[in-house]
Subunit: 144 residues, 2 copies
């Protein structure tokens, strides 16, 4: 099994608004007005939570199929805590990003609690986005 | 400076399609047809790249303002390599997520190379999404 590459391009429409192109799709990213944005879309850290939900959904269904149970759907609640001090350039011991992300997963199925825990732990270990957030991932940023 | 929380909710529309709600916005996440999806939107790992671009744009402009130069815009190219073996449940030494993410940043401004490098390194250290990908972030997943 060889690695595949995913690519996007993006451009700033203003200091807070970014238009991202992924294949034939667009994502509009912005900051809300209380963060001095133009509020044209979710902000970058909300997109991180969204990506995590989307990935858990896909893996959740793959694992359900493998385990042989009917998964009628999943709902998610995601929340992350972020201290904006470092982002704003202040002296701080805080990190720039989320200090913690919490995810509540509510599957619509007939498994018992033990089976559900097995399902959940399997998903967690195989979810690409969860892996990239939980574990260090090299990000190589260079001038183009 | 105290931490703020960001929240989203999400629900599966089918095994690959997720609708995410962030404040008054929606993100549609799906997989392309060659990954057995219904291709209604970018996939989760493309959203990760998009979130990173959006965050670098915001921080890039904040730092430009602090450094006192005119930044007319930024374009980005982002790419990540991912081995789908672990996601698919195969025995593999590979990790589930991106093994590496590369970002090319092209600012439209009149800085010299040295000033640009200073700008870029400052952005990198203060970008929340870059921090959450580069460094370990606790993700606590539980049954709702």
């Amino acid at each position: 099994m060889s690695a595949v590459s995913f690519k996007v391009t993006a451009s700033s429409e203003n200091p807070t608004k970014t238009v991202v192109r992924a294949r034939n799709f667009e994502m509009i990213i912005d900051e809300p007005r209380n963060l001095r944005g133009t509020d044209a879309g979710p902000n970058p850290v909300e997109y991180v939570l969204g990506a995590l939900a989307g990935c858990l959904n896909v893996v959740g269904h793959v694992v359900a199929r493998e385990m042989g149970f009917q998964l009628r759907g999943i709902t998610f609640e995601l929340e992350g805590d972020l201290d904006p001090a470092k982002f704003m350039g202040k002296e701080t011991p805080s990190r720039a990003g989320y200090s913690e992300i919490r995810v509540k997963v509510k599957p619509d199925c007939d498994l018992n609690r033990e089976q559900l825990e097995t399902w959940l732990h399997t998903i967690e270990s195989r979810c690409p986005v969860s892996d990239n957030i939980s574990n260090p991932t090299p990000v190589k940023i260079s001038l183009g």
